[in-house]
């Protein structure tokens, strides 16, 4: 492959234009040679000297957000986001090194027995290099629902296009194109009026799959699928899944292939009582609009974890090879790693790399979240729940989504075979912040703060260092 890449670049640069002449500019005054950080500090010192010591105290830990990560990890505060304090629903890195933060729930939460918080449909894009934000206005064609009022507002990012879907009531959605800064409306899909059991978004094509019969008058007689094209803004029927109706199928999407597996079978699978679980599944190729049935798996399950990893397709603790249709046992995590029922969840490297995180379910309020990561073909102890890839480094942070004991937000950097504790963050404890790793930095935005869940509307950066 490297030869192909080299040959392609050779063909590209064969067309390189002549180099421009050196422009005539006013030469900067000669100065003593300083390494870049020293120049920044010197300039900052001049500014601070001009405005006085009190400002120094207030801004003491706020270095230039664009400063490169260096040896010692350090937190600093960045520019505040251009949206109201909130929990952040969706946070992800963009291909150009910026971080997209979108959605969430208003804070403080309304009080009262029937109070519901408003879901927020605006957001922002943060550039850690320049420490600047760009606001994402909410789509003006989509009303913001109340919490619990709609079944879900799903969000997926692909190819720098954010796709959101609002289920419940009439299905509606939108795509925010970072490149153009505008929203495009997605109106209801044919036959998929209120919900979907599997959602895949490639940046160009949205695929919705119905696997459960649903409720009248929106019920279906058999599984079906539909595709929406960003280019034509229109829906077409997709190939139907070669599966029976089921409830709670596990789904996994790798950007090209959508796998659905398992689920509870029967007319009354949505009612309490014994259930029969399907042990079959199928894989949809988005580019080809074709389904391939999977070979029957070792055991049926519903809501199974399905995730594409380097080794193949992880399905509920087994490994499926989609090329030859064989199943193999997946190495079990070390004994004692899990507390309560073992669950698995997938997490995502930036740029489409995927790996698997499995952990014990969170039981009790001890704050000890035993977790195991599947990394490079082996299980690795993780010191905390959330894991990010910052540059080439793994960084684990105290879970932000479930923080009953007000754990300090704390980061750990993977160093060789162990983890280096980067210490607690300087801000108060957080729940449901937007957290994104970009290069060698961690960006933490907003969230519900402290035991009383006060709204936070700030930006923090951690240089991972090392």
């Amino acid at each position: 492959m490297n030869d192909l890449i080299r040959d392609a670049y050779a063909a590209i640069v064969a067309e390189a234009p002549p180099a421009p002449e050196l422009p005539h500019t006013t030469a900067p005054p000669a100065r003593r040679r300083l390494p870049a950080p020293a120049i920044v500090l010197a300039a900052a010192a001049m500014v601070l000297a001009a405005v006085g010591v009190p400002y120094l105290l207030l801004a003491g830990d706020r270095g230039g957000a664009g400063a490169p990560a260096s040896g010692a990890p350090s937190w600093r505060e960045g520019a505040p986001p251009p949206f109201s304090p909130r929990t952040v629903q969706f946070a992800a890195p963009l291909s150009d090194g910026r971080a997209l933060m979108w959605g969430g729930t208003e804070l403080p939460f309304p009080t009262g027995s029937d109070a519901t918080a408003r879901r927020l449909l605006d957001g922002g894009i943060y550039d850690p290099e320049s420490d600047t934000w760009e606001r994402i206005e909410p789509p003006d064609f989509m009303p913001a629902p109340r919490e619990f009022e709609s079944e879900a507002v799903a969000a997926q990012l692909a190819d720098d296009r954010l796709m959101i879907l609002q289920f419940g009531g009439d299905l509606g959605g939108a795509v925010y194109d970072v490149g153009t800064g505008g929203w495009t409306e997605i109106t209801g899909a044919p036959g998929i009026d209120v919900t979907a059991d599997a959602v895949a978004w490639t940046g160009d094509t949205l695929v919705l799959v119905r696997l459960w019969k649903g409720e009248a008058p929106w019920d279906v007689a058999a599984p079906l699928a539909a595709r929406w094209s960003f280019d034509t803004r229109s829906w077409t029927a997709a190939a139907a899944p070669p599966l029976s109706l089921r409830l709670g199928a596990g789904t996994g999407f790798d950007g090209e292939r959508l796998a659905v597996w398992g689920g509870a079978l029967g007319e009354n699978a949505d009612l309490p009582g014994p259930a029969t679980f399907a042990a079959d599944g199928a894989i949809y190729d988005v580019a080809a609009d074709t389904w391939t049935a999977m070979e029957p798996g070792p055991a049926g399950d519903s809501h199974a974890t399905v995730a594409w990893i380097d080794e193949g397709l992880f399905v509920a603790g087994s490994l499926y090879d989609p090329d030859d249709g064989t199943w193999a046992a997946f190495p079990a995590p070390p004994a004692g790693a899990a507390v309560g029922k073992t669950i698995a969840d997938k997490w995502e490297y930036r740029d489409g790399e995927r790996q698997l995180l499995t952990t014990g379910s969170l039981v009790g309020h001890s704050g000890a979240h035993p977790a195991q990561l599947w990394v490079d073909g082996a299980w690795v102890d993780a010191p905390a729940y959330d894991v990010h890839l910052a540059g080439a480094r793994l960084v684990a942070t105290t879970r932000t989504g479930d923080n009953p004991d007000n754990l300090p937000f704390r980061a750990h950097r993977r160093d060789g075979e162990g983890w280096a504790d980067l210490g607690p963050a300087p801000f108060t404890n957080r729940m449901e912040s937007g957290v994104v790793a970009i290069d060698d930095r961690l960006v933490v935005v907003a969230g519900a703060s402290g035991r009383t869940l006060q709204p936070a509307g700030d930006t923090w950066l951690l240089d991972i260092g090392g």
């Binding site: 670049y9 590209i12 640069v13 234009p17 180099a19 422009p23 150009d96």
Partner: protein, 151 residues
């Protein structure tokens, strides 16, 4: 060395790098922009490593360029028709890589730099370059248009 001498030493490599990042139609403009901005702020002769400074500035500017233009056009369509298979598909796949993955693959696989030297020019850690290369290869492997050729 004067600014002119330093620039003369690196100009060809810089314009090739700029071409690999944003394509031949925009490389010259982008490099000119980088030079104007750089020379207003600093004399190249005052820098410890002017080559790394300029390469990093080109990469940063290419990312800004991306934000305006989305995907760069690395090669004109008519030229791609003249390339032997599967190079047109590889060029298209490279075009879809994020800028820094493309920078890493260009510096290591085409310019034949070591990981450490590429990291120096990109202003990041060697492990980060390794990650960019790994991610780029994975992404290319998963490009359905290339699967047959890479197999």
């Amino acid at each position: 060395m004067t600014d002119a001498e330093i620039y003369a030493k690196h100009r060809d490599a810089l314009v090739r790098y700029a071409t690999a990042l944003v394509g031949p139609d925009d490389a010259e403009d982008m490099l000119s922009t980088v030079l104007v901005r750089a020379l207003r702020r600093v004399s190249l002769g005052d820098l410890d490593d002017p080559e790394a400074y300029l390469f990093r500035a080109v990469l940063n500017e290419s990312r800004s360029f991306w934000r305006r233009a989305r995907r760069p056009v690395l090669m004109r369509a008519e030229r791609q028709h003249d390339l032997p298979d599967p190079l047109p598909e590889v060029v298209e796949a490279l075009r879809r890589l994020p800028a820094r993955q493309r920078a890493a693959t260009y510096l290591v696989y085409y310019a034949d730099l070591s990981i450490a030297d590429a990291a120096d020019l990109m202003g990041c850690a060697t492990g980060t370059v390794k990650h960019y290369l790994h991610a780029a290869r994975q992404r290319l492997r998963r490009d359905h248009r290339l699967r047959k050729d890479l197999a």
